[in-house]
Symmetry: C2
Subunit: 489 residues, 2 copies
C-alpha cells in the first residue's frame, strides 16, 4: 500500500517548499537541509531521530495556518513538535527529508488568567513548568505534574492526554482542558477557547484533539482549568512486605479518605535501590530499603482543617494493623521533597543505564498486584539476570513495568530482548483487559501492538474521523494508525 | 431540502416494519399504530409529543443491533428514548408515524460493581436513582444529582452529558464515564466497557457518544466512576443583599476551601418566594426570605477531620464581614434536607404554573451577576408584569434564567413571548461568549439558535462525524443539526 517518495525525488520539491516557508515566516524561522539543528531531530529518549525536510517555527495560529496551506499544496506531511519529551516517536520526523517539523516553541505566551473563573488561556508552546508557575503566582494550582515538566509543552500534553503523578486527584490532561484552538490541515482554524464549565451545544469536538497525537490538527492554544492551591499537604512513605500489602493499604486509605488522596505511587525495592545509587545519603534510607515494597503517598486539601493529626492517626493505625511495616510521615516540606526526589531519581537512574525496557500499561486496579508478580516472574524467565523494575500510579491502575538488561548481554539477545519482553508485558496486560499505553500514547513505537488489538469497529471509526479532519493524511503521518486519510505518505 | 413522506405513504411500509420488529423482539415488546401507549409519545415538559411508527423495547445490545438493521433496511429513522425527562425534544418521535422509538427501559441491569477499582457497569435503561442506590449499598457514591433522578436513565444522562447540582465537585457526566457500549446504526457494536482510569490508545471514541444526543449510536451500557461517600457534609443557606454579594461569597469560599465545595446554588428572592408556595411551613423562612439573593451551599469531604467547626468559623466571618446578611448552618440531616427541598420545590412550582420560559445558559463565572441583572431588566421591559426567576449553579457559570408570564396575557402576546424572550436571553449570553445550552443539549428546541451560532468549521466537522457514524442519518434524525448524513428524513 505504501508509496514512499524516494529521497532524490523529494529533495528538489522540498527545497522549493522550504523557500516558500522562509518567505512566509522569515528566513530565521525556517531551517532546511544541513542547517537543521540536531535538537529538532531527536527526542528525549534518544530512541527516535529523523531528518526533516525543514523545521519551521511559526509565531501564531495564522502563521501555522498559512504554513499548513503551503505544505498541503506541496503534498508534504507535517509533524507538530513540542518539547521532544514524548516516548513513542510521535514528535520527530521520519528519515528521508520527507516531512516538515512544525515547532510550537515560539508560541509560548500565557494569554490570560481568570481568577474567579479559575482558568487560564495559554499557547501550545508554553513549557508546562512555566504554566504551573504562572498559575502559582496568581494563587492557583495547575495540577498536571510529570517528570518532564521542565521541558514538555502544553500542546504536547494536550495532544498526548498527559498523565503523571496527580491524576488520582485531578485527572488526566483531558480533565484539565476547557477549550482548544487548533489549525486544521487545510489551514482553517478551529477555535473554542471559551472558559465555560458547562456547554452542551452539539458534539464536543475539542475532545477529539485531546490525545489525537497531532493527527487531526495542530493545537495552538488551550484554555486550562485551575484549582485552589493545596493548603495542607501531608506526605508519607510507607514500606510493606509485598505489593499485595501496598494494595491493601491503598484500599484502606481510599475508603477512609479517598478524596483527599492526591498521589499513591508504588515503588518496589529494586526501584528504591536504583534511586539510592544517585542519592548523596543513601544510609538514611537503609532501614526502609530492607522492605520489598513501598508507597509514596500524598494527602492534600485546599482548605478546611489541618490534615496533619488525622494523617498521623491513620499511619499509626496502619502500623498497628501490620499492613505497613515501617514508614515516614514528612514533618517539613524538605522531608516531603526528599521523598519525591527518590521518585525522580528512580527515573533518572534508569535513563543513565542506557537502553532498557520501558512500558506504560494500565489494568483494573484490583489486578495490579497480580500483574506485577506475573511480570517479574516472566521477565526473569525470559531474560535471566535481568532486573525488573515495577512501579506505578496505583490509584490509576497504571504500572510502569520496566527492565534493565543483565550486564554483558550477548549480541543476539541484545538485538531483540526489548521487543520480546514488550510482547510478554502486553500479553499479560491483555489477560486483564488492560491498556498497552496508559499515558504515553501510540505514536510510532506502539503502532503494531495497537493495530493487533484495536477492534475492527473502533479502527474503522478512527480512520473515518481521521479522513474527516485530514483527508490527505498530512498531519503526523502514520502516527497511531498507518493507513488513514486519502493516501499514505 | 426536506422530503417528508406523507402519512399515507408511510403507513403500509411502517406496518410491515412493525411486524418484522415484532417477530424479532416478541409481540409484547413492540407497539404500533393505536396500540402505542401515550407515555412513549410525550416528554416530561409536555412541550413535545409525537406519533411514532412503532415503539420497541429490546432486551439487550444484540436485540438493539438486530432492530437497527431492520430499521436501516427499511430506511426508517430511530429515536432512542430514555426516561423522557429531557427538555429539548430529543427523545420523542416527530409527528406522522415516521420514526421508531427505541425504549431502553428493559435494559436496566446493574451488571457489576468493582469496589477497589471504584467503578460499576450498568445498562443504559437503569434509572439514575437506582444506580445511585446500588453504589450507596456498596459504600460508594455515584455523584450525578439532578431533579429528574427518579425517572431519567443512564443512557440519557450519558447522551446529554447531564449536569446537575454536584458538577462543581464531580464534573458533568463526561467526567463520570469510564466506558461505553453503543450500537451503531448499521448494527455493529462499539464496546469498550473496560474500567481503566488511563488509556491513551488512539482516539478516545467514547467521548463522541457522550453528549451526542443519540445521533451517533444507541448507548446500551456504560462503565461509571464511583467515589468515596462523603463522611462530612455541611450544608448552609446564606442570604445577601444582591447577586453581586453572593458572587463575592463564592469567590471567598472558593479561595478558602474550594476543593471542599460540593454545591453552590444561587437562588434569587422570587425563586424562594415561589418555592415557599409549596412549603407547609413558609413562616420558618420569613426572615431569610426578606433578602434579595441567597446561596445554598454544601461543603463535603470523604474523610479527614470533621468540617463542622471550620465551616462554623467561615460562616461567622462572612456575617462579620457583612457579605452575608443572614444564614442557616444545618445542624442535622433533616435541616439540610429542608434546604434542598426549597431547591426542588422551586422547580416544581414553576412546572405547576404551566407554560413558562425555561433557559439553561452558561457564561464565564465572572459575568454571572451582570448577566442576571441585565436579564431581569430586559425581561421586565419586554413583557411588563412578567416574573423573572434567576437561579443557577454559580460555580459552573450556569444560570437558569426563567420567566413566568404575567397573569391574563392576551392571545397575541401569549403566542410569541417565549421565543421572543428566549432570543433576548440568548443575545445577552452571546455578549459574554457564553453557551445557549449549558446542560440540556440542543435536540429540536435549540436547533435554530445553535445553527445561528455554530462556526462554519465546527459545523462542518460535526456533519462529517455524523456521516462517519451514521451515513444514512437514521439515528435521532435532525436532532442537533438538521442536515447531516446522506439525506434528511
Amino acid at each position: 500500500m505504501e508509496t514512499r517518495l524516494d529521497d532524490d525525488a523529494a529533495q528538489p520539491a522540498g527545497g522549493e517548499l522550504a523557500a516558500r516557508l522562509g518567505a512566509l515566516l522569515g528566513a530565521q524561522q525556517v531551517f532546511a537541509g544541513d542547517a537543521v539543528p540536531e535538537r529538532y531531530c531527536r527526542d528525549w529518549s534518544g530512541d527516535y531521530a529523523g531528518v526533516p525536510l525543514a523545521v519551521i517555527r511559526p509565531a501564531n495560529a495564522d502563521e501555522v495556518a498559512a504554513a499548513l496551506r503551503l505544505c498541503a499544496a506541496a503534498g508534504v506531511g507535517v509533524i507538530p513538535q513540542g518539547g521532544h519529551t514524548g516516548l513513542v516517536g510521535g514528535g520527530t520526523a521520519d528519515a528521508g527529508h520527507r516531512q516538515v517539523v512544525l515547532s510550537l516553541e515560539r508560541m509560548n505566551r500565557i494569554r490570560s488568567v481568570d481568577p474567579l473563573g479559575m482558568s487560564m488561556v495559554v499557547e501550545a508552546g508554553c513549557v508546562l513548568q512555566a504554566v504551573k508557575d504562572a498559575a502559582d503566582e496568581c494563587g492557583y494550582l495547575f495540577p498536571l505534574a510529570l517528570g518532564a515538566q521542565g521541558s514538555c509543552q502544553i500542546g504536547g500534553n494536550l495532544s498526548t492526554n498527559a498523565g503523571g503523578v496527580n491524576v488520582l486527584r485531578y485527572g488526566m490532561m483531558r480533565n484539565l482542558v476547557l477549550g482548544v484552538e487548533a489549525v486544521l490541515p487545510d489551514g482553517r482554524v478551529f477555535s473554542d477557547l471559551r472558559a465555560l464549565r458547562k456547554n452542551n451545544t452539539g458534539l464536543d469536538l475539542k475532545q477529539l484533539f485531546i490525545g489525537a497525537e497531532g493527527t487531526l490538527g495542530v493545537v495552538t492554544a488551550a484554555t486550562l482549568k485551575l484549582f485552589p492551591k493545596p493548603r495542607w499537604v501531608e506526605t508519607l512513605w510507607l514500606s510493606a512486605g509485598s505489593v499485595d500489602a501496598i494494595m491493601a493499604i491503598y484500599g484502606r486509605l481510599q475508603r477512609e479518605g479517598g478524596e483527599l488522596l492526591s498521589a499513591f505511587e508504588l515503588i518496589t525495592a529494586p526501584c528504591l535501590a536504583l534511586a539510592l545509587e544517585l542519592d548523596p545519603n543513601p544510609q538514611a534510607w537503609r532501614a526502609l530499603a530492607a522492605h520489598p515494597a513501598h508507597a509514596l503517598i500524598e494527602f492534600s486539601a485546599s482548605g478546611g482543617p489541618d490534615l496533619g493529626p488525622w494523617v498521623g492517626t491513620l499511619v499509626a493505625d496502619l502500623l498497628d494493623a501490620g499492613l505497613a511495616l515501617d514508614g515516614l510521615h514528612a514533618q517539613s516540606g524538605a522531608q516531603a521533597a526528599a521523598m519525591w526526589r527518590i521518585r525522580e531519581r528512580m527515573v533518572e537512574a534508569q535513563q543513565r543505564r542506557g537502553k532498557h525496557l520501558r512500558t506504560d500499561v494500565s489494568v483494573p486496579i484490583a489486578a495490579m498486584a497480580e500483574l506485577v508478580a506475573r511480570f517479574e516472574a516472566a521477565a526473569a524467565a525470559a531474560l535471566p539476570g535481568a532486573q525488573p523494575l515495577s512501579y506505578g500510579h496505583v490509584g490509576d491502575g497504571n504500572a510502569h513495568l520496566n527492565v534493565l538488561p543483565p550486564p554483558g548481554l550477548d549480541a543476539a539477545a541484545a538485538a531483540d530482548w526489548i521487543p520480546r519482553l514488550t510482547g510478554i508485558v502486553n500479553e499479560l496486560v491483555d489477560d486483564y483487559g488492560g491498556s498497552i499505553s496508559a499515558e504515553h500514547g501510540i505514536g510510532l513505537s506502539k503502532r503494531a501492538a495497537f493495530e493487533a488489538r484495536v477492534p475492527a469497529v473502533q479502527r474503522e471509526l478512527m480512520e473515518r474521523i481521521k479522513t474527516a479532519f485530514d483527508p490527505a493524511a498530512l498531519l503526523s503521518p502514520e502516527r497511531i494508525l498507518p493507513r488513514t486519510g486519502g493516501q499514505p505518505r
